[in-house]
């Protein structure tokens, strides 16, 4: 019981540090930084992943081979290893030191780009081949067929998987700790160094915060998945068939 009251006291005294780190007296940190890092990571990784997926599906070896190699290498290496590579390599290439936040963002974009590309590729392959046949038979080029027929459907169907990958990204930002990226884990660790005697309470708070954020997003992904599954059966409650009129960015594809 005393542990719980300790935790409440810690949160009352330090909620701002956990929320935004030392900002405005230092860099933005805490959960705000974690979320910004994750959102930027997935948003920037997404277009990259579509390009990688299209390259991997291409018949041209010039595109196919490097994209496949990139995906295999990234999937076969621990994220921590990739972080350290970017950490030591990017300053050498640029000739200037790079903030930890940027290093971590670059790493996440490469890493998530590779993983998301497999999701995108799966989404494209999962569509019936008749869709591509129909688009080509109507005279669309390969690129046109991808843009107007295949990708809008594939990306819509993949939304739950992309959201799941976003949850993974949030958890992966914790590894930024090793290169001093100011984010939530870093803030908790700073707090632990200051209070010294309450590690169990502090890291319990940390775990609970991560759990709440990730669990609610996973739950959202599940609901999205069920909704899309219902729509595929053509009996969604909105009664508009495969795609509700309010579905984002899919209208006006013509």
């Amino acid at each position: 019981m005393s542990m719980l009251s300790n935790m409440i006291t810690i949160i009352e005294d330090n909620w701002l540090l956990l929320l935004i780190g030392q900002y405005p007296n230092g860099p933005l940190g805490g959960i705000a930084s974690t979320l910004i890092l994750s959102v930027l990571g997935i948003v920037l990784a997404f277009p990259l992943s579509v390009l990688i997926a299209l390259a991997r599906l291409s018949q041209w070896k010039v595109l196919n081979w490097p994209a496949t190699a990139l995906v295999y290498i990234v999937r076969g290496v621990p994220l921590l290893m990739l972080i350290l590579w970017v950490y030591f390599l990017v300053p050498l290439l640029i000739g200037d030191s790079v903030p930890g936040f940027v290093t971590m963002l670059c790493t996440l974009v490469i890493y998530e780009g590779a993983f998301l590309s497999e999701i995108v590729r799966g989404g494209i392959i999962a569509l019936p081949s008749g869709q591509m046949d129909a688009a080509r038979a109507l005279g669309h080029s390969h690129v046109g067929a991808m843009r107007y027929v295949i990708l809008p459907q594939a990306l819509y169907n993949m939304m739950p998987s992309i959201l799941s990958q976003f949850v993974s990204t949030i958890k992966e930002t914790t590894l930024g700790y090793v290169i001093n990226v100011p984010e939530l884990t870093f803030a908790a660790s700073q707090l632990n160094n200051r209070l010294l005697t309450k590690p169990f309470e502090i890291f319990a708070i940390l775990a609970i915060v991560y759990f709440i954020v990730c669990w609610s997003l996973s739950e959202l992904a599940n609901q999205l998945e069920q909704r899309i599954a219902r729509q595929r059966l053509g009996d969604d409650q909105s009664g508009t068939g495969m795609l509700p009129p309010d579905a984002p960015k899919l209208q006006g594809a013509t």
Binding site: P128, G130, Q131, D133, A134, A135, R136, A137, L138, G139, H140, S141, H142, G144, Y148, V149, P152, Q153, Y156, Q231, G234, T240, G241, M242, L243, L250, A253, T254
Partner: protein
């Protein structure tokens, strides 16, 4: 208009088309029939190169479809060949109207307003003007296939190809789709149609091709073919159909 000469196609070591030679003339309605797996669908898919061939030639309007075409030329050629699939293959993320407008706007650079007018006129023709805003999943199979026909017609093709257009429909919906195809035939559209609907073939076809094991075994006018088939395989095929 379409000429097959010495067409051979292999899937690995299996030969799907064996030395096919035949011609579809302008304004003619050709019905291709034969047992399952005889190569009918494969043959019709070679006309717009959805299936590649290993040797021979397919000529469309004098143009060799399978050789010497740049990809842009192939796309232009495909845009001039209407193709209707067994499984409709409507685009499920687009409304009926958008399904029909997509290719005129994106491939033929037709203005949206004009494309929309044409689409509505075509929907009216197939009796589905009231479904313009619906999505494919909300339509019955017969309605989807009629939209697919309107979508193909929107490109104003001089020729229409039908690959078993009624085979995945419930029996009570076959009639509405065949009625649309009949009206196209009555307007003088050049057509090639793979089908198992023998009454339809008898009424509409100018010429019937009978295929088995990748070969065209018999070509004839429907009156001759149905009453007096020459090839023993065709005789057996027709008698099997009549028994049922």
């Amino acid at each position: 208009m379409i000429r097959f000469s010495h067409v051979n196609k292999f899937y690995g070591s299996y030969q799907a088309l064996v030395d096919v030679n035949a011609t579809v003339n302008k304004g003619e309605v050709v019905v291709v029939c034969g047992p399952s797996g005889s190569g009918k669908s494969t043959l019709i898919r070679t006309v717009n190169r959805l299936e590649p061939i290993q040797s021979g030639e397919v000529l469309f309007d004098g143009q060799n479809v399978h050789a010497g075409l740049k990809s842009a030329e192939l796309n232009r050629l495909r845009a001039r060949i209407g193709f209707v699939f067994q499984n409709f293959n409507l685009f499920p993320h687009l409304s009926v109207l958008e399904n029909i407008m997509l290719s005129p706007v994106r491939v033929n650079a037709v203005k949206r307003g004009d494309a929309s007018q044409t689409a509505m006129r075509l929907l009216d023709r197939v009796g589905l003007a009231h479904k313009a805003k619906a999505y494919p999943a909300q339509l019955s199979g017969g309605q989807q296939q009629r939209v697919a026909i309107a979508r193909a017609l929107a490109m104003e093709p001089p020729v229409m190809l039908f690959d078993e257009p009624t085979s995945s429909l419930d029996p009570e919906m076959v009639g509405e789709v065949l009625a649309v195809i009949r009206s196209l035939a009555a307007d003088g559209m050049t057509m090639m149609c793979v089908t198992h609907e023998m009454n339809f073939a008898r009424d509409v076809a100018d010429c019937v091709w009978f295929m088995d094991a990748g070969k065209i075994l018999e070509i004839g006018a429907p009156a001759d073919f149905f009453s007096n088939p020459q090839h023993p395989r065709a005789q057996r095929f027709l008698s099997d159909l009549h028994v049922r």
